[in-house]
Amino acid sequence: MSQKIAVELKDLKKKYDENFVVNGINLEIPKGECFGLLGPNGAGKSTTMKMMYCSALVTSGELYVLGLNVKKNFREIKNRIGVIPQEDGLDPDFSVIENLLVYASYHEIPARTASEKAQALLREMRLEEYADRSVDTLSGGMKRRLAIARGLMNSPELLFLDEPTTGLDPQARLWIWDFIKHLKAEKSTVILTTHYMEEAERLCDRVAIMDHGRILAVGSPADLILEHIGIEVVEFDTNPVDLNYYIGRLKEGGYNYQVIQDTVMVLINPTQEGRKAIELIASDKILIRKPTLNDVFLKLAGHQLRDE
């Protein structure tokens, strides 16, 4: 296998009880890329990632991380990767700096190296002044930053972030986005999961949209938007009575569209013009906007509410 591939999945499956949570996915993630696994809750993205960082067993298929087989070389893989799990998993029995030092001891990092590294990371994560505080006293954003620092203690070649901004306030989220951009500038390999499409669009070089344990589409956000949606979206609200009338007109005009409850979205492809669609509809509650990854996701995965 090529030295340039960070992670490779071949027909990967994961069964919990009798259900396939991951149902045959294929993927290649090159080194130096920021890759996003997107999907709603229960899509299988976190499970897929857990198999990559060797905290879940593979049911069937092949999975290579840094050229190593997860079934055989999980110790070496775990030595070379960094993981920031969704639930942080900080140790409440220890202070902020002790969390980093104890974690370093698991990796057999010599005490002096560990101490220097921990100081540097606390500085980078703006946690210096909290070094001796108990982790219970930290805010959600600070805990996440500490978890990131912990994931970087062993200078990993590949970083996994499982829903890095879920549950954080806007400021903390911006900080994390900025940090990931900073990692990208250094050509680090980052794999993240998220259910925020906006986050994926901003950060990821490429994304895989997942649902029901399968990958629906893979590509750069811009390519996926162009391919599945187009260049613009004309959006208007209507009511069940008028809906059929509008749809008839859109069909006549050769437009693609998707209907979500009482909202109609007309997908404008590069050969069409949004303004013409507006004229066609002649409704007052109408807007024209740039398409987003969210539109792609709704088109591919449908818009039913998820129970999980």
């Binding site: 067993l57 110790r75 140790d91 409440p92 029995d93 698991y106 990796h107």
Partner: protein, 262 residues
């Protein structure tokens, strides 16, 4: 789980020592408080049962009641402390604190986590045994050098009960689950394993049934070695402890691994 998993200890790296160290590091922060309570409780039993109630007993098999009771107290102390650390402590780290999940992110595997935890719970039980033995020596309860081999037997005992505790932890759904194992297993054992009175006093077949309790073998071995020296019976009881501990350890590792890596 197959029989082979009970007799085969998986290959491991030194990671289990790091898990042990993590717990020791935390213990060092709080040891004055935790060891105080852990040692104080058995000393209260020693006062109330040994010196208090015991004065009404003239002698048991040629020994004073306190000399009879003391080995039993050492055993039940080691059992209790190791068991509680392995159940409540282990369960907290397995579930609420997610300590094990975090360790799983490093080069340390689930087997090493299970072994490190189990050895830690044994160690904590053993600290309390040493604590009680030290205090008891001030009361003149230790008059033979054979306390040293007796302490080795007590180490086996702590290891066995730490392993049993980790097995319980792997089955537990919440903290209430441990009420069953405590009330149904640990408490009866501490009462009917020849700790407070000789097993011969048990009615009918129960005196043989008492040998199903692992604690009985520990009490017999420790009391035997302190009072009569290295007899065959001491050897047999010690070997049974070792055997049970070995099985329990392998089952615990197998079970905890199944919890950590699905």
């Amino acid at each position: 789980m197959k029989f082979i998993d009970m007799i085969r200890t998986p290959k491991m790296n030194s990671g289990f020592m790091r898990v042990w160290s993590r717990n020791f590091l935390y213990f060092r922060k709080t040891w004055t408080v935790s060891l105080f309570w852990v040692v104080l409780e058995p000393l209260m039993y020693l006062g109330a049962i040994g010196f208090g109630l015991g004065t009404f007993v003239s002698n048991i098999g040629g020994h004073s009641y306190i000399d009879f009771f003391f080995p039993g107290l050492l055993c039940s102390t080691g059992m209790m402390v190791a068991f509680f650390e392995g159940t409540y402590g282990g369960f907290t780290k397995l579930t609420h604190q997610r300590t094990y999940s975090t360790i799983m992110l490093t080069r340390i595997g689930p087997e090493e986590i299970a072994l490190g935890e189990l050895l830690w719970a044994s160690t904590k039980g053993y600290f309390s045994v040493i604590g009680v033995a030290l205090v008891a020596s001030f009361f003149g309860l230790i008059d033979t050098w054979r306390i040293f081999p007796a302490l080795l037997i007590l180490l086996l005992l702590c290891w066995l009960f730490a392993s049993l505790a980790m097995i319980m932890t792997s089955y537990a759904r919440n903290y209430d689950s441990f009420i069953y194992s405590t009330s149904g297993f640990i408490v009866p054992m501490s009462l009917f394993s020849g700790t407070y009175f000789p097993i011969d006093q048990l009615p009918g077949g129960l005196k043989y049934a008492a040998y199903l309790f692992p604690l009985t073998h520990a009490v017999q071995a420790v009391r035997g070695i302190l009072q009569d020296g290295f007899t065959t019976a001491v050897g047999v009881h010690t070997f049974i402890l070792f055997l049970l501990g070995f099985f329990a350890m392998n089952i615990a590792i197998y079970r905890i691994r199944g919890k950590l890596l699905k």
